[in-house]
């Protein structure tokens, strides 16, 4: 089995960092962000942590502290945080094609076979981590920590250690350490802080004298098989450097069918690209009919290999709308080739291309044409509405929808006026200089 390699990129005090991108005066001021529903602290700057403010602490407990230390207080500005999160994630794409967005402020990159991906030599992983950190900071203003290791669990521990000790300057590569050096670090990590170990499980392990990550790593084989769950055993293996948890790559949206491939060799001819796109479209249409659905939106995309830095880069996509939902291959192929014609440019070495079908309609929802166009239009609208709702739920979760409604009724004084502008999503709320 070949050695795996992962990097975990974790944004530092993410919500506070987002506010600091747009508020010049609070770069070194203690700053906190409150949840909108119950007025608890959901993010703290390093300065606020040093004042003893706890995560989840109710804001009313902090009133005198806030006055005394001129602590900056913000309500959660989720549209700002979501926009900056998207930017951070998108910057990370240039470092690896395999990325798992784990949360709004954390993502893993699979760096296995890194040498094949980048034509620049990467010998010093710490240096590579510093490049990631510097690039994200420059492009988005968000400071991040980078932990590099052979398993996802170990990257979590690397980030935990990075945050505790400023000597690492935000980047720690555990693969550069000897087993003995690594163990000396693992002994500093409390079992409660090991990723995947819940509070109950941690108490259970403590009962057996397993109180640190190191102790868990060296737990007796027989004991593991007897007492640990499959999940628990996986964590043990991960601490030993054996990767058991692969990246969970982004799945396409629920209502989408995607057919995309990296070419065996780079494509440079239009007729070859037309063949490829036609093949992918036919396959996607087949999948569509397998699930007895219709689509009214098709996107075709083409791209060069972004990891070959010395090559001319080009990537583009085109979306074709169908007035009536369809699963008819010739219609879909015609649309896809039309889209390809609109975006194809000669002179590039194409590396990947594909077709995705979105706005898929289950056929049961489409009436026979008793009401003609009207009925179809209505169903198409319903499908689109669900798509938007799904997308919103996927991106923000129920809490945020709830928050958006609640936002107009905010009455508690601590929260009033604490919401910063929507600097990146509303023209009338831009940063003014």
């Amino acid at each position: 089995m070949s050695e795996k390699l992962f990097a975990l990129i974790d944004c530092n005090n993410f919500y506070v960092s987002c506010e600091r991108v747009f508020h010049a005066a609070i770069q070194h001021t203690p700053t906190i962000v409150l949840s909108n529903n119950d007025g608890c602290v959901v993010a703290r700057s390093a300065e606020a942590k040093r004042l003893g403010i706890r995560m989840g602490q109710p804001a009313f407990e902090l009133e005198s502290l806030i006055r005394q230390h001129h602590i900056q207080v913000f309500s959660s500005n989720y549209s700002l945080y979501a926009d900056l999160s998207k930017r951070v994630m998108s910057v990370l794409d240039q470092f690896s094609p395999r990325k798992e967005c784990y949360s709004i402020d954390e993502a893993w990159l699979d760096l296995t076979d890194l040498h094949d991906l980048h034509d620049l030599p990467i010998d010093d992983l710490t240096e590579f981590g510093r490049t990631i950190k510097a690039t994200v900071l420059q492009c988005t203003g968000i400071p991040v920590s980078v932990g590099i290791a052979s398993t996802k669990s170990l990257t979590k521990i690397a980030n935990e250690l990075v945050k505790r000790d400023p000597q690492y300057q935000g980047v720690l590569d555990l693969t550069a350490l000897s087993e003995r050096q690594l163990d000396a670090l693992l002994v500093q990590v409390d079992i409660h802080d090991v990723w995947g170990i819940g509070p109950k499980y941690a108490l259970f392990l403590e009962n057996y004298g397993i109180t640190t990550a190191r102790a868990l790593k060296y737990a007796d084989e027989k004991w593991i098989r007897r007492y640990l769950t499959v999940t628990g055993a996986r964590i043990v293996f991960e601490l030993r450097g054996i990767s058991c948890l692969p990246l969970e790559l982004e799945r396409p949206p629920k209502q989408a069918i995607m057919c995309a491939k990296t070419f065996g060799r780079e494509i440079t001819r239009y007729d070859e690209m037309r063949e490829a796109i036609s093949t992918y479209t036919a396959r996607a249409a087949e999948k569509l009919r397998e699930q007895e659905s219709l689509t009214s939106r098709l996107t075709v995309f083409i791209r060069t290999n972004t990891f070959k830095k010395q090559q001319e880069q080009y990537n583009n996509a085109f979306t074709v709308e169908f007035e009536h939902p369809t699963a008819f291959t010739p219609d879909l192929v015609q649309g896809a080739l039309g889209g390809l014609e609109a975006i194809y440019k000669e002179g590039y070495r194409y590396y990947k291309a594909g077709v995705s079908l979105t706005r898929i309609t289950p056929p049961r929802m489409v009436q026979p044409d008793l009401f003609g166009e009207f009925s179809l239009l209505q169903h198409s609208r319903q499908a689109r509405l669900m798509f938007i709702v799904d997308a919103l739920n996927r991106i923000y979760g129920h809490d945020t929808l709830f928050f958006a409604v609640q936002g107009w009724e905010r009455s508690w004084k601590m929260r009033q006026g604490k919401l910063s502008q929507h600097f990146t999503t509303r023209w009338d709320e831009l940063l003014t200089i």
């Binding site: 010049a24 005066a25 770069q27 998207k86 930017r87 951070v88 998108s90 910057v91 420059q138 492009c139 988005t140 203003g141 009919r289 397998e290 007895e292 219709l294 085109f318 074709v320 709308e321 169908f322 007035e323 009536h324 939902p325 369809t326 699963a327 008819f328 219609d331 015609q334 649309g335 039309g338 889209g339 014609e341 609109a342 975006i343 056929p363 489409v366 026979p368 044409d369 003609g372 166009e373 179809l376 600097f423 990146t424 023209w427 831009l430 940063l431 003014t432 200089i433």
Partner: protein
Amino acid sequence: MRARSLPLFACAVAAGFPSPADDYVESALDLNELVMAHAEATFYVRVSGDSMRDASIWPGDILVVDRALSARHLDIVVALLDGAFTVKRLYQHRTGLSLVPANPAYAPIRVTETMQFQVWGVVTYCIHRVR
């Protein structure tokens, strides 16, 4: 499976319209394509003062700021200076940096070591409303 999919085709065909897909294949010009080299690093800010007037940057204008670019001598930049944002032209001397306004009514600012200074982003375009 095929028999089941028949009504689906019937729907599309029975509506009686030809596929409109071929009418949509010309992509319209996209201003983003022109002004945005790095979408994830591009921000917009609004100008309030007239210190960059002679560089055709007027109050109310919207600046396109590309953070992915590293600032060079003579770039117009958005900078963080002692807890405030400012837009000025960056001069790189042998001995250090200056932020230079484009309006004789304002004085250049020499960046000293005691100042808290950071380039926030490089201005690449200015959107000015002419009507």
